[in-house]
Amino acid sequence: MRGKPLAIRAEALYLANLMIAPGLAFLLLLALYWKHRHDADPLALNHLSQTVGVSVAGGTLIVAVLAAFLLAGGMESGYTLMVVVLYFTLVHSSLIFMGVFGLIRAMAGEHYVYPLIGRLFRA
């Protein structure tokens, strides 16, 4: 499997990781990347590296910042919960919307670089 179908699969797994199968979909995405990292064409490699990179960076962004909020604000504070809920919802939604744009580009057979953090993972 090469080109567009592979790119679409990468973006679909990225979105599945965020929405319906967190963790499992990420492992499948990693496996897909590992399998095709040497034989994928530029389009597929672009989407594979972007989705894997942004998944890792996005996950870190969520977990690390939430941990910082919890450490700074304490577990027994309503304000900490409020910040955690708002932060998680905004970051998670943003990652989903980026994935939507990535999926659409993949379906159109176009390259895509995720905004802000995607530049770190150019194939």
Partner: protein
Amino acid sequence: MKYSSQAVAKLYFIAAIGLFVGQILFGLVMGLQYVWGDFLFPAIPFNVARMVHTNLLIVWLLFGFMGAAYYLVPEEAERELHSPFLARLLFWVFLVAGALTILGYLLVPYARLAELTMNDLLPTMGREFLEQPTITKIGIVIVALGFLYNIGMTILAGRKTVVNLVLLTGLVGLAVFFLFSFYVPDNLVLDKYFWWWVVHLWVEGVWELILGSILAFVLIKITGVDREVIEKWLYVIIAMTLITGIIGTGHHFYWIGTPEYWQWWGSVFSAMEPIPFFMMTVFAFNMVNRRRREHPNRAAMLWALGTAVMAFLGAGVWGFLHTLAPVNYYTHGTQVTAAHGHMAFYGAYVMIVLTVISYAMPIMRGQEASDRRSQVMEMWSFWLMTVSMVFITLFLTGAGVLQVWMQRYTDVPQSFMVVQQKIEIFYWLRELAGLVFLVGLVLYVISFFVKGGEPARAADTADTA
């Protein structure tokens, strides 16, 4: 405009926008009453302002849906509307009935209004969102039947497309489920149970069909993408809507006295309710990305894409936030619900009505698209209203989370009014965001009267490439 009878939609759209302005003004009044308890008291008590705010929303959205149907059905069916006269007659009946009802809320105590309208003969008043006097409800049914007859006959005699059949299905569902507003059992559990058959099965069921079909129609027109492609997407979206939304009603049954299995059914199915909204986002952006022409109406395209994004956020993400039973145990009826309600209604239904108005109104006024200056102003109004709605939602979410913590989650719960005082800052911020929303709405209205600047011309993307 392909068919002259499509022009009846203009009346409906104008009424919708007028009532929208009224809805926002009453929203601002009650927003202020949250922090300034006796503002405008006793002239407009909080409960009356709230009733007018929500009822105006429902009525103007219905005007918008009917206007959209009168505009798009003739074009899809490729024939004139069955009876433009009936459409105009029903418009005035609905407008007069709606206006009298709102005046009744404002000028007569609610209990007296019930007496005056002989509610005792067939008691249906007193339930949230369905406060209308029985006689108004009967009027709504008559208008809906006349409207469905008119639309149905047009479709029956003309071309049947997926768009107009999905729209008709949604509109029939809207009318059928409204009939449950006449069923008011003495048993409070049953009363609540069937009340949700109107409220939930409207906004998380049949209204989504109306939303999907209007969005599909506008995308066909402004992108030039093959109808077959868009229709396939529409089929899948409405299938997912019904699969998840119907049993998803269960998320309203958790704490009203129904069997416990609803906590499972409601949680599982309503957790899937974001899926059709997610698909709608992919669908809208995909179609625009594949567009085969550059439509001159940039504002309509912005509204269409905005609908998909905001519906997913408001209905999907903010709905999921508090839909699982263990979470909802703490959050139900708090400001988290209000946050979800505001963004979901705005994103899904306000924006789709504004989308179709943005697309159809210039055509009904003899242009393919408004002048450039008018469109720029309309797009400013889009951003002002949308961004302020995001902030309204965030402030209400913040207030709601704190409310949950202080009033329900903690070992030493505080009373409702004490907590309300503690989260007052969020209500002030929400009111400020509401004022920005009003500025956006005023700009939106003004944009219809602005002239000047060359309208962008239509072009095939192949020509421009």
